[in-house]
Amino acid sequence: MKKLMFMVVLTGLFLLLVTSILKMPALGSLNNPSYNEVSHYYLENTIEDTSAPNVIAAVITDYRAFDTLGETTVLFTSIAAVISVLQISHKNHNKKKVEKHHG
């Protein structure tokens, strides 16, 4: 029953999203508004500015290198969070064992 209700609601959401998405500019046309002057600038000036043929590498490590620094910080934070969550019990178990031995 609950699943049926979710299905009806999500079908409604799907139809809503599809009707709005059909008004977007067509897939793969050159006149797409996302293919704007920023992309043209990157494609035309990358060789001159960075002399790296791979435009994506130039964007993520030269034009927007600060963004990539934040990205590495995200990785660092995630690993710090995972280790801080998972290593607590180990230390507690060790302490308990030590206490038991002492007791």
Binding site: T50, A52, N54, T61, D62, T68, L69, L86
Partner: protein, 140 residues
């Protein structure tokens, strides 16, 4: 997993996977790829080794201390290269403005700080993947 065929094949195949990962990282600025994808390939090779040989042998190959140094070292190297831009008279993470060696487009030794940053990102991503996997399966 205690299977002779799997172990033999993994032992044969892991060096080639690592070589491919290093190739992707070093050629990040002239061909498809870069630090993230190459680091993922490198990390996946060590995860493959862990899956077939067990955690004990794998953590002998890549001890926790080494991967800790690699993790902090990757991000510190990135910041250090960024600060070099300030020292040479540009802004933070400046490439051409700070007068790094640009070279000719298409050569391996070119593009200023891009290969240096890519190597840092590759080390960071590889060690992060390995450490996450080892930490999650460490529970006995």
């Amino acid at each position: 997993m205690d299977d002779l065929i799997v172990k033999t094949i993994i032992r044969l195949i892991v060096p080639f996977i690592q070589l491919y990962g290093i190739f992707i990282i070093l050629h990040g600025h002239i061909s498809p790829g870069g630090g993230f994808s190459g680091g993922a390939v490198l990390g996946a090779s060590i995860i493959l080794y862990t899956l077939s040989f067990g955690l004990k042998k794998a953590s002998k190959k890549l001890p926790h201390k080494v991967s800790q140094v690699m993790e902090s070292g990757g991000i510190l190297w990135y910041m250090f290269v960024g600060l070099l831009g300030i020292i040479f008279g540009g802004s933070f993470l400046a490439n051409k403005g700070a007068g790094f060696f640009m070279g000719e487009a298409g050569n391996l030794l070119s593009a200023g700080i891009i290969p240096l940053l890519t190597i840092g990102i590759g080390i960071k991503v590889a060690s992060t993947m390995v450490t996450l996997f080892h930490t999650i399966i460490e529970e006995d």
